[in-house]
């Protein structure tokens, strides 16, 4: 008898990942690896947040573990996780038939479209801290939100041109749906083809959910978190200041235009060459990593209930300044070094 999930041979969790990655690789996407730092969503990985800036085409797909400390439930809630896995696809510019390609990807993981109810319902995305927003949909499959589909419009407070299409699959949800299990922890992660022995999601992740929920909610040292936040922030700020001082980028885009113009016309002096070189090696990506640290620390402090009313808004504004500052500097760097 066919399973009621409609998937005729439900893929394991790892097969789901493999099939989606293969699907997108076959359509020209570079499969990059998860970013090796704490992020709240796949969007915050530099592979999305920074790559959507500027004119260069992008086709990239990656899975990204996303940590949201306040969502932790000690592994007791069957539907909620501290850390879940997203598959993120970024297409710049988005192809005209992006929705159809997306629907094909569902077929690739065993969803027979004719047997399901699929709706694209309005759901706009916004990350105020990143000065980023877009319009799009949540894709509903038999009443379950399985994907967030967004046309990025702004990032780092800057208009994007061309825009990017972002497809974010919620992997645990999709796997639980396909395998028709009631709890995420019962998802079959892998099945040994030789013995048929199954490894469940819970075996891989339950302990992490439990212990990190304890850490996030009870054990994290609030004083030290604040201290870390302060240190990361000041280092990030120093880097940004140094970038602006070295390249006078605060005076809007005049200078970049100038540098860029000379690069184009080829009449550069040795001094310009040096500036370009210095600019290209300037570690803005390091500054961005410091932003990510700050963002995660903020989330931890929030989960600990350690952020007071007045602090909350102020700290968020500080992080926003850093993130948007890095994005703007990054755009200037790309323009200024002709590294487009």
């Amino acid at each position: 008898m066919a399973s009621l999930s409609g998937a005729h041979k439900a893929p394991t969790f790892q097969e789901l990942l493999l099939r989606l990655q293969t699907f997108w690789a076959e359509r020209g996407c570079v499969l990059s690896q998860p970013y090796d730092m704490e992020v709240g969503a796949g969007t915050m990985s530099p592979d999305t947040f920074l790559r959507v800036l500027g004119p260069d085409p992008v086709a990239i797909a990656y899975t990204q573990p996303s940590r949201r400390p306040a969502d932790g439930r000690y592994g007791e809630n069957p539907n909620r996780l501290y850390k879940h896995l997203q598959l993120q696809v970024i297409l710049k510019p988005p192809p005209d038939d992006i929705q159809e390609i997306y629907l094909k990807s569902l077929e690739a993981i065993g969803i027979r479209l004719h047997e399901h109810d699929i709706k694209f319902e309005e759901d706009n995305w916004e990350w105020p801290v990143g000065g980023a927003w877009g319009v799009g949909w949540q894709v509903m499959l038999d009443g379950l939100e399985i994907t967030q589909f967004t046309y990025f419009q702004q990032c780092g407070g800057m208009d994007l041109d061309p825009i990017s299409g972002e497809i974010t699959y919620g992997l645990e949800r999709i796997a639980a749906f396909l395998q028709d299990v009631e709890s995420i922890y019962d998802i079959v992660w892998a099945r040994d083809p030789r013995t048929g022995r199954e490894v469940k999601y819970g075996e891989i992740r339950l302990q992490e959910e439990l212990q990190l929920s304890v850490y996030n909610f009870e054990a994290a040292d609030v004083g030290k978190l604040w201290e870390h936040l302060r240190l990361y922030e000041s280092e990030c700020q120093e880097l940004l200041d140094s970038f602006h001082q070295s390249f006078k980028t605060e005076k809007k885009s005049e200078r970049h235009e100038k540098i860029h113009g000379r690069v184009v016309h080829g009449g550069e002096t040795p001094a310009d060459e040096d500036v370009r070189k210095a600019m290209r090696r300037f570690p803005l990506l390091g500054a961005y990593e410091l932003c990510l640290k700050c963002s995660h620390l903020f989330n931890l402090l929030d989960a600990r209930g350690a952020i007071s009313v007045t602090e909350r808004v102020a700290v968020m504004a500080r992080i926003r300044n850093m993130v948007v500052g890095v994005a703007k500097a990054y755009a200037a760097q790309k323009l200024g070094t002709g590294a487009a």
Binding site: A2, L4, S5, G6, N77, P78, N79, R80, P93, P94, D96, Q99, E100, L103, L113, H114, E115, H116, D117, I118, K119, F120, E121, E122, N124, G134, V135, W137, L141, D142, G143, L144, Y151, Q153, D159, D161, P162, I163, F177, D180, E182, G305, I307, S308, V309, T310, R312, V313
Partner: protein, 703 residues
Amino acid sequence: MPNFLFEVGMEEIPARMIAPAQAELSRRVMDLLTRERLLSPENEVRSYSTPRRLAVQVNGVLGRQPDAREEMTGPAWSIAFKGDQPGAPAQAFARKAGVDVSALRKVRTAKGEYVGATAVRKGRDAREVLSEGLAAELAALYWPKNMYWRREKPERFVRPVRWILALLGQAVIPVEFGGVEASNQTYGHRILHGKEPITIGQPDEYVKALEAAKVIADVEFRRHRIRKSLDAARSVISGGRWREDIALVDTVTHLTEWPSAVLGRFDREYLRLPDEVLVTVMRDHQKYFAVEDAKGKLAAYFLAVLNTEPDEQGAAVIRHGNERVLRARFNDAQFFWNVDQKVKLEARVEMLKSVTFHKELGSYWDKTKANLRTAERITGLLRQRGTQLDEAALQHATGLAKTDLTTELVKEFTELQGVIGGLYARAQKLGEGVAQAIYWQYSPSAMDDPIPPSIEGQVLGIADRIQTIVAMFGIGLEPTGSKDPYALRRAANAIVKILAETGLPLSISDLLDSAPDKPTAETREKLRAFFRERLEFWLREARGFAYDVVNAVLAAGADDVRDAIARAEALAEVRGSEDLAAIAAAFKRIKNILRQAVEKGVVTAAEVDQAAFRDDLLRESEETALAVHAARLDQHVEKLRKQREYRAALQQIATLRSNVDLFFDKVMVLVDDEALRRNRLGLIAAVLGRFSTIADFSELVSA
């Protein structure tokens, strides 16, 4: 006469935006056809929409604009023609009019003889005209939220445009928008039909061709089909009904091209959760319809509207999937409910310190303290004025009103704030009065919502809102124009509605004085103007009073809501009488005389306010008569006014008419004798002042 069809195909349009966009496109197309003289008198227009398209069909469109004849007058005949020979000016005029010189003729005007011609303006081909016009109309379509999608951002639209179909008869109208060229092709249901294009031979085929491709283009037909499907699907439960929800039917109508419905069920265990939670999960989060049994109680079923037509196997799969999702959601709600019970509402007060109310105004803990002080002062006023209420319950409820913001259930279902607090208060046996007041605190949130049923709930609702409004105004956050980010207008509307529909003896000034943040004199004026505007809105929109009645009544006082309503009712009843219209005209005249007198420095504004006159300076019998009548009437009217017998009072005031008319007929106000002049100005100012306390009649606009 060809028929016209225009369809623009897009990626899924947000459901909430479809109906207005459909109406606007239809209007724009009709305006374009009318403007371009392309509409025959017997035209017929129909418009369509689905999540992926907007369309307009107009039958009875002209293939080309009719030729227009225009009578033109040129140079003087004597200049244009030498004898019968046309000169250069005649040639030039003939060219301008587009006629042969031989068609020029002599026209006689008052100024002499001129050259005349009948110019014929050739009508243009409809396709050519529409080709230019339609793209501009599309570009001008309003969307609440737009996007760019093409390089260099050439246009903004709600979602990327994927196809355009534009036909006049069988011919394609060459329209281009968003990089898409119009054709005679459209597309069917994404899944049920697939991406094969459908060719439309002529406009009348459109609806049928789409139906064959599993798209119902007609919105009302789709809505009807959804209602029928819901009826049919629930019919397996004997006596069961789906809970009517017009807004939800509307939403799912705009989310589907080929709708059907499936009935699902859930474990009866979940029925132990409050209805409010179950219905919110189903309606707001899943867009499901709730089902009730024959007695109107919630049944363990739901109805989902699908955008497909599954076979039996598919229906089972889809039902199963939707049941899974709902089960997880209910599980969450159940889990949150249980977790929330572990911390009593009382213990949550302290937790409010970390919930921001507003960055400058502090936390909800601060807000609660301020609300308590506000409620206490209002209670004091009510006590003085003999209104009974359970003060302890009100205080208890006010102290706990915001604590549900710290609960998991409210974090998940923010739209249930207040309601959850009330339900928890009941579950924690804090008393029905307390629970009710908390439950209803945010009602009414829209004009036709009910007000809280208990006086404690009403007072809590008022105290919470007035505290917010005064505090926000205090830091300069009053609404401006269309901007009202803190929904202060809605909050003030709710206060007005509660005061209007209850007998609470509270004026707007009472409330402004009850808020702990003392407004500055300037802010207080702003607040009074703001409430006056809200009261005006209420009288006009909710009660339907004419604007001049509202102006007249509010000019005489806008502080007491119930009183203003009573005065408006009385004035609306008697305003039609001839006597009152005459009084209104006379009062307008008095106002003008006084204003001019002040402007010219004949008297000061303070003197006008004093409105003093001396009996011994009344010379003419008409002024004496007016003064005597006014004095007698004054006491009478004042008595009626105090008893709020406004209608009788207004009828009394109307009896002044004959004396007022006679006065203005016979007595000159601005005479040379200064003492007399001052006295007469004082007299009319007194008449105006005494009898404008119910309404300022000079605001009335004569019929």
